[in-house]
Symmetry: C2
Subunit: 313 residues, 2 copies
């Protein structure tokens, strides 16, 4: 028996036919082509699903969707500009297959937890360091979903409550997202580039627009002091967030994904060193959380969505 996994993004719709063990059998994709109505986008999703499921035994469809999702309904998606859309029902009518929905970051976390970097682990917290900070928590193989909406929004955990902390997209100041997203890293890099005209940052990124999530790590690797200070600062913020989540969940694995995570050990080594002394009781613990990077890449979304469908059906 197979499951269909759909990862609905603001730019592309990715879909895959996935085995029960989380392996991709076939893939397909289409542009999301926003702005469009929810129904128009779902018609394209249905077409992808029908194409992938032709002549296959498919038990159901799982969809990872950006925004707040509850009981098959997209309550609110800023990226898609959807409100209160009963997506599961709509897609089920169009495909004849049962459909379940999850938040995209949560669903990708489920994929990493069950078939990627935390495969076989008792518990995992997956953080996506991208435009924002997405989070997904998997406990005993199941996604943590809350009572009042889609959990977990750990990116909106305030770690630096202060009037001068950076403003988050959610309107508050000092959220993990405002300090540890790729966007935050780019903002910090741009600031350092301006205040340190002597820095290599200005050579690697001749204009503000040239700055990306790698710039600071590339300059730091060449010994640039200003870049090293930004990297240390960024890693400190990320370590505070990671340590908070360890102190709350004491998970077996913390997995990092998103562009910044591509730094691999460049990021992980100083992050582990910074986080270790922040973990409560670590001196007495017999077991320690493994901090690592995710392994499935963009496929985490479709695999997780399919495995969500497997769990829910």
């Amino acid at each position: 028996m197979y499951y269909l996994g759909v990862d609905l993004g603001g730019t592309n719709i990715k879909a895959a036919l996935v085995s029960e063990s989380g392996e991709i059998v076939k893939e397909a994709a289409a542009p999301t082509n926003l702005p469009r109505t929810a129904q128009e986008v779902c018609d394209d999703i249905a077409a992808l699903c029908l194409q992938l499921s032709a002549r296959e035994q498919v038990a159901g469809i799982g969809v990872g969707c950006p925004g707040t999702v509850c009981d098959g309904v997209v309550l609110y998606s800023n990226n898609l500009d959807w409100h209160d859309f009963a997506m599961a029902d709509y897609l089920q009518t169009k495909t004849g297959l049962p459909v379940c929905l999850g938040n995209d970051a949560n669903v990708a976390a489920l994929g990493e937890a069950l078939a990627g970097c935390a495969k076989g682990a008792q518990s995992a917290v997956i953080l996506t360091l991208g435009t924002g900070v997405g989070a997904g928590v998997v406990l005993g193989g199941k996604l943590l979903t809350g009572y009042t909406g889609a959990a977990s929004e750990a990116g909106h955990m305030v770690i630096a409550d202060a009037p001068d902390a950076p403003l988050c997209t959610c309107g508050r100041r000092g959220c993990l997202e405002s300090l540890a997203s790729a966007t935050a890293l780019i903002r910090m890099t741009r600031e350092a580039r301006r205040t340190h005209p002597e820095s290599l940052l200005n050579t690697l990124a001749p204009t503000e627009a040239d700055v990306n999530g790698r710039t600071v790590f590339d300059a730091a690797a060449q010994g640039d002091a200003a870049a090293k200070a930004v990297a240390d600062d960024y890693i400190h913020h990320l370590a505070v967030g990671v340590a908070n989540l360890i102190n709350i969940f004491f998970p077996e694995v913390i997995g990092l994904s998103g562009g910044v995570a591509n730094q691999g050990e460049n990021l992980l080594k100083p992050l582990r060193a910074a986080a270790a002394p922040m973990v409560f009781g670590s001196a007495f613990a017999k077991k320690h959380t493994r901090i690592t990077t995710c392994t499935l890449g963009y496929r985490a979304g479709v695999i997780g969505a399919a495995l969500l469908a497997k769990q829910e059906m």
Copy 2:
């Protein structure tokens, strides 16, 4: 069938015979009499258990213990000064009954979640605002326990990462515990008392030693401006912590216990108002976390310990 619940504190050992539905049938207590060896204390616990279980059908013993507890072993308890003590085995040998251990704050949270303020709820986070900030998370009727040790230490979630943030007992700065415990409230009240000689705080607490967790609320109720500023500040910190936990768990209930929670609606009303705009996506959520106070008082510990035993046996 009954279960024995034991709440081991630094001052007293409380024990109770508890029904399967979480009702206390009989209670007993003894002083902890520290400093004593772990074995001496456990001999007294065993005597209390044997006294309460005489001529009763008892399936097992649950114990709530301060510190880090894992797999029946007290890894480290600062309060008791115990290290690596295999308490469950010891107590089982002395009583002939199966024993399971939990962290005391976690176990009390289980009691409140299953038989107190969150009875019937899908999920609950219980915060104890006392000398420190204890936390327990109950999801689907089960305590959240981590891979690496006893979860959850949400009191050591940093909410104000800054070099000038108050120092926590754990050695870090800006932990929820350092800003929202009764100890923090008393520290803030003492500061306001000193810097505002005109304040009623000086009348209600003629010396520093007279300040307690009620002082500021009593003075604020009489319109004292300095006291009101402290109460607002304290409630803001608590709201940041509560909102972080909502954003991470989206639980059905947040329950507050400990001395400060005795303020009831005096605390809850402004706390709810402060926390509401901090909750991610609350404008679109159909359901909202209920923020309330705990109902079982000191009995949460023994009831939760007994219900832990029921779950584990």
